[in-house]
Each structure stands twice: as C-alpha cells, then as structure tokens.
Symmetry: C2
Subunit: 449 residues, 2 copies
C-alpha cells in the first residue's frame, strides 16, 4: 500500500531531482522549461537552492511578472549576490522591480565586495533599545516577525548613533522578569566582525567561537547587519575549493567543474601549465651543462627522475601543510622561523630515510643482476658503492632543500600579499627541479667522477 | 580618555589572547597554570573555544570538583567528543561526575562514530505534540528553555513512536492564532539526515539547502537529535583540511600543524614518501632499458625532466579538480565517462599548446646558440627539427596521458571505496613518470633514431 507507485508525490519528487541532475548540461531554454514543470512548492525550494549565477540566468529568462515575484521572495543579501552575477546592462531592469526600501538596502550591500563581511551580511535584523522593558521588547519582537527580519532569535541593542551596545537572545528575554530592562539582561561581551573583513577571516571567527550568528559593524562601530552560520558553511566550502584548485596547480574555477566552459577551462589550466613548462625548460639547460658527464657515464642519467621526484614530493608535502595551516590561522607570518626549523629537521629525517632506501636499492640491484661475464662487475659497474653514495647524498640534500623551499614559499607569497595557496604542488616541484639537478650532478662529480 | 591603558579589561584580554597564542608550545602544567590565571568569564569562553583533544587534556589536569563543574557546562555532544578524546582508562572517572540522565544520553552518543551525523548531533531539542494548541505549545516551549535545550527556535513535532511528523519555528507559532493546532501550523516537507550518514554528506545537505539546523533520524524514522550549522562549519573545515593534506601527499595530520609531535609527523609524511620513492625507482629501471640510446645520443637525456614534469603537472591539475568535484557532490561515480571525455579533449588541447611551445624552444635555441665552427650545426645538431618533433609529440602524448590518468584515478579509488583525495599530486606524478619515459623514448626511437 505504501509502495513507491502509490505515492502521488513521487512523480514530482523525481522531476525535481532529475532537473537538479540534468541542470549542468541543459541550455537556458530547457532550464526554464524544466523549472516551469515543477509544482510551486518544488519550484520554490529549487530556486532557493540554486547558486547565485544559475539563479540569475534562470531569472533573466522568465517574464517580468515572475521575475518580480521571485526577487521579492529573496533576502536582500541573496538579491545582492544575484545582481552581482547579472550582466551590468540587465541589473537596472531587475532593480526596478523592487520597492524603494529594498532597493536602497541592496544598493548599500552592492557597495561591498562579494567576499567581505559586508557582502555576506543581511541588513534585516531585530533591534531593541537598552532602556525598553523585557515585556515591551518581546511584544516589539513579535511585531518584527511580521516584517521580513532574518532572525529574531538574537536581538541587537543599539544606541542613538546606531552603535551596538549589547545582544540579547529571545530565550534570555523569555526567562527574564517582564519589568526588567533590556540593559540588565543583555550580554555586552560581544564577538563582532568589521564590514570590510575578508570572508575567510569571518569564517575563522565563526569556527573559533562556535557561533550561529555574528553582528557586522562599520569602522565607527555602527551596526550594519548580521552574518549567519549557514552562509559561512558556503564560504568555508568555497574558500577550501579555491585553495585546493590552486594547490593542484590551476587557477580557481569559480564554478562547478561540469559547468565551466571548455575555453574558460583551457584558460584557467593552460596559464599555469605554460608558466610551469617554461620554468621547467631550465632543466634542459641545466642538463646541457652536464651533457659531457652524461656522455662519459650514461649511468648518471638513470637516477635523474628519481632524485627530482624526491624534491617534488617532499616539497609539495611541506607546502600544502603550511598553506593549510596558514589558511586555518594555526600558523602566522611571524611563526616562519619556527616552521622552518621544524621543516629543516623533518627534511633531514625524511631525506635520511629515503637516502637509506636508495642505497639499499643500488646494493640490491648490484647483487641481483650480476654481470654474467664477470661476477665482480654487477648492474652498476665496479664503482657501485660510489654510485650508491652519490644517490644517497643527493636524495638527502634534495629532500632537505625540497622541504625547506616548500615550507618557505607560502610565507614569501603571504609577505608579498599574494595567496599562499599559489605555492602549488607543481610550482614547488618545478622550482626545486633545477636545483635538484645541480645538487645531483655536483654530488656525482665530487664522489663518482 | 579611552586609550588602551585606561581600559581595565585590557590586561585580562591580552592574557587570554596570549594564552591562546602560546597554547601549542605549553606543556600540560603550564596550560593549567595559564588557564587558572584567567577571569571566570574569560576562562569559560576559552574553555568553550578549545578543540576536544585540548579540552580533554586540560580537564584531566584539573581537580575533580572543577572537572564536574566544567563537564556540566558542556552540551552532551561536546561531552561525547571530549570523552572520545580521553584515554579509555580515564573515561569512567569522568562519566561518574555526570548525573544519570546525562550519562545515559552520552552513552547513546558514544555508540556513534565521531564522523557521522549521530556523533555530531545534540540529543536535547524542543519537542511538541501535533494536537497541542499553539498557546499550549508556546508556554510549553517557554518552560523547556529552563531545561538545557540547545535551541527552542525550531520545535520538532513527534508522534507516539517518536517519529518525526513536522517542524514548526517559534516564529511561526507566534504568528499563528493561539487556538490553532500545531498540526495546522507545522511544516511537513522536511529535510532530514540519517543518524549513520557520513558527516561530509551531512555538510552537503546543509550547503545545498542553506540550513541552520537539521533533525537526525534513525533507520525507523525515530528522531534522535539535531545538528546545527555551527558544528557543520567545523566539519567542512576539517574535511577540507584532510583532503588538502592528502592531496599534498601526506596522511591527514588530525591536529593543528604546530601541535603534531615530530615522530608522529615523520610517520604521517614518511609513509607516503617511501611508497612514492619505491614506486619512482621504476624510472631508474625504465631508463636503464634506454641506457644504450642515451650513451649513443646523450642529447636525449636533456629533455627527460621537462617531459616528465608535463605529465606530473597536467595529472595533478586533473586529479585535484576531480577530487574536489567529487567531494562537493558536483560529480558522481556515474559521471566518469563525461569527465573522461572532457579531460581527453582538455589534455589534447593543453598538450598541443605545450608541445607547440616546446617546438619553438628547440628552434629558438638552435638559432640563438650557433655552433661557431659550422653554422649549419646548432645547439641540437643537424637533426634539430627531428629533436623538436620528438619533444612536441612526447609532450602532447604525455599531457593527454597525465590528464586522463589524473582524472581517472579518483574514480577508481572511489569505486574501491577508498578516499578519492588519496589521488594526491605526488602519487599521480609518480604513476605517470614511468609511462612518460616509455612514451618519450618510444617517440625518440621512431622519429630520431
């Protein structure tokens, strides 16, 4: 009786899920068509779940009457995001659909960039006066629920200059005596953020204090709006995505993977690949300097990829760990010497470990793959111990160098006010490749030649 | 008059911030000492901001009376996290400090693993009956605020079997007629999560629906607790940190960078480095197969690092983009063919771009660095066009191969129920290095030799 076929809603449910699945590959007309096929409730949920860019594109393809209806159902910060994702020439048309008060609010929000606290906040919050009584406050808040205030669960107490003096939760009001003053109930030890604070820093404040909501103040302490934890969930995901994409060696995609156009994708990935390729060309020049040694002892060339990979791997480990520690606020610029000291020891320990394995490998191959004509001459010739020593010393030096370079680069980028995540695994690998070659051939010429 | 020195609180503020800064390098005794030096309000804030592990260590170093006081101030889910970070032999002692009801709640939470919905949820939430009147519901909720319910802003409507039938916000109750039934006001179209759902999936639900709070149900639909957005902010940060550390080629650190002990750090980083080093040793064997060709034409060795880096870079780009897209739910297992088709084209386009630059480089060096004895013989000898062709063809093939391998590996790992983020930049680079050598020397033997 309760099987799937009997559920009258099931058909519609599948529709909404299907539309969500197919969305990335649908053209604008097909999106509108699919959207119109949803029930009103499904359409509303679907519309509110769309990313700003998709929402803007869908809206622009609807008739003006529907545009007005959908726009008015959005919170001001969502409208501002939507307008920022709308081509400039279409913005005026959409703004004209709003009432004056909302248009003014949204104008103020558009003055902020998307990735700062002011661009995240909702300007509609519940406000109270400090000298109101608790009973007055409760009935005032009940009235505010009828207007579109994002949340009445925290009410912000402002003075005449709109400066924030305290916060009181609805729950605290309900537990207090009705004739107490708001001033006596409110909390004054507040966590706040500045309107121009970067969204990554705002996310750190939320994470550190486990907040559901934070008030946003301008430079003069006047309250401008509130940022809520649900928006911060999105911020943290976006910032992590950007960092991961940069660490992988491409520019941030700024859109879901399957929705980035081919040409855009080429631009975002090709740029870094070309820079890395041109940089890596230095290895061909470096190798050319050792061409005579390679001609004399082709054996030398065998270990080049192995030695270089040690630098790349230890370097990308160190750089990603440091990049993430900086992003989380676990490590600050002034901690650089502590990190560097740690990583120097780490590089030495890891290099010794790998160098030892490298030495064992040379010995093992020497003994496993005898030269059948002359048992004294094995795989790596009569000087196999020197070959082993060259590999071991090179691996150790390259590991220390790779680890130190990888750990230092994010700090250098941060000092230059660039994003530390630009210290991508491929960039670090490329940077240490040339030095790796110089280290290896220098060790070889000292030990082996 | 309002300078920093005049603020009587400033001294204490600096103390709390100082303690937070110094925390990672303090030993347990110094931590307790610093903690006791804080004002009660500061200590309370400080204690609530600590991570579970630090909180457990601090608590174990306090006398039993204080332990009881601090434990009782924590929400049940926080106590459960704290106990999970406490050595097994100490848990009983701490559990004994709690009252029976709380101990039972916490026992139920400890049955869940930390990283699933049941391990994140708070079992204290506001509940209502569907046939209560709105007025009864409001006064019942006001009474519940006196007990320690995490949030009364959403009240969950349960039937006799504890099954969730609807949700009503406090705001909706206040806007409704007092004699209406809760049933008429509540929302029944609910977003819920299962108690055994992975926390990463829970985070995706929050992000997709922009939620502040979600109810957790067991397999039979019985309500077990609520998860709030502030906890999800932490989850998203932790999961991204794990992914980033894996992408960089180390095991997840599971603790702030500066707090990981040296030996632990060696283990977490050395493990992967050894695996990669042993894998990369195959390049030495592969190169040995071409030793004769290198002896004959040492020129061949010059381009080895350049060609291999193309595979590593294009591969780590593709793998990190796909890993992140899978983690965000933008790409699912069954999308693999779409991703692979896209990446094949992308690899071809990027390979053509880089191959073209490589060809230009050979021509340019040939003409810039003449052989002074014989102007027909340049840097790369008389067959420089063939050298250029070899480099170009190899770069193109290696780029396509690297991109495809990088894009495919996360899907293979996911299919094997491993974490796709294990497809780290260094792992992909190592995997494509051997193939890169084979491609290059095959191209050389076909074109040049």
């Amino acid at each position: 009786m309760t099987s799937i076929e009997d559920d009258p809603l099931q058909g519609q449910r599948v529709m909404a899920a299907d539309l969500r699945d197919a969305w990335p590959v649908l053209d604008p007309e097909a999106r509108v068509e699919g959207f119109r096929y949803l029930t009103t409730a499904d359409a509303e949920e679907f519309f509110h779940e769309l990313q700003a860019l998709d929402r803007a594109q869908l809206l622009l393809n609807l008739p003006a009457v529907e545009q007005r209806w959908w726009l008015r159902g959005l919170a001001p910060d969502d409208v501002a995001d939507l307008l920022q994702a709308t081509p400039l020439e279409e913005r005026g048309k959409l703004l004209a659909l709003l009432d004056d008060a909302t248009r003014k609010e949204i104008g103020a929000l558009l003055a902020y960039s998307e990735d700062e606290a002011g661009g995240l906040m909702n300007p509609r919050y519940a406000r109270l006066r400090a000298d109101a009584s608790v009973d007055e406050a409760i009935s005032y808040l009940r009235r505010q629920t009828r207007e579109r205030v994002e949340s009445i669960y925290y009410a912000y107490v402002l003075d005449e200059q709109q400066k924030l003096v305290g916060v009181v939760s609805f729950r605290q009001l309900m537990m207090a005596r009705g004739d107490a003053r708001v001033r006596e109930v409110m909390v004054t030890d507040l966590v706040t953020v500045q309107d121009e604070m970067d969204q990554e820093a705002v996310a750190r404040v939320f994470a550190q204090h486990n907040l559901m909501c934070v008030p946003v103040l301008d430079a003069d302490g006047r309250m401008k709006g509130i940022v809520t934890a649900d928006d911060i969930v999105d911020v943290v995901r976006e910032e992590a995505t950007e960092d991961i994409q940069k660490i992988g060696g491409s520019a941030a995609l700024d859109a879901p993977y399957l929705q980035v156009g081919f040409r855009d994708m080429i631009r975002k990935r090709g740029g870094w690949l070309v820079v890395l390729f041109v940089g890596e060309m230095l290895t061909a020049s470096a190798m050319a300097n050792y061409q005579k040694e390679i001609e004399a002892t082709a054996l030398l060339a065998l270990f080049v990829p192995l030695i270089l990979s040690v630098g790349g791997n230890s370097g990308s480990q160190a750089s990603t760990l440091v990049v993430r520690a900086i992003a989380l606020g676990e490590v600050r610029l002034r901690d650089w010497w502590r990190v560097l000291g740690r990583e120097a020891l780490m590089g030495l320990a890891l290099g010794t470990l790998l160098g030892g394995i490298g030495f064992l490998r040379v010995i093992a191959w020497q003994h496993l793959f005898h030269n059948v004509d002359d048992p004294h001459l094995g795989y790596y010739g009569e000087h196999y111990l020197l070959v082993g020593a060259t590999v071991t010393v090179s691996v150790m030096c390259v590991a220390v160098w790779g680890t130190l370079s990888g750990a230092l680069l994010p700090f250098v980028l941060k000092l230059m006010r660039l994003d530390p995540a630009t210290a991508s695994a491929p960039l670090v690998a490329t940077l240490v490749d040339v030095t790796g070659l110089v280290i290896y051939f220098t060790a070889a010429s000292l030990i082996l030649l």
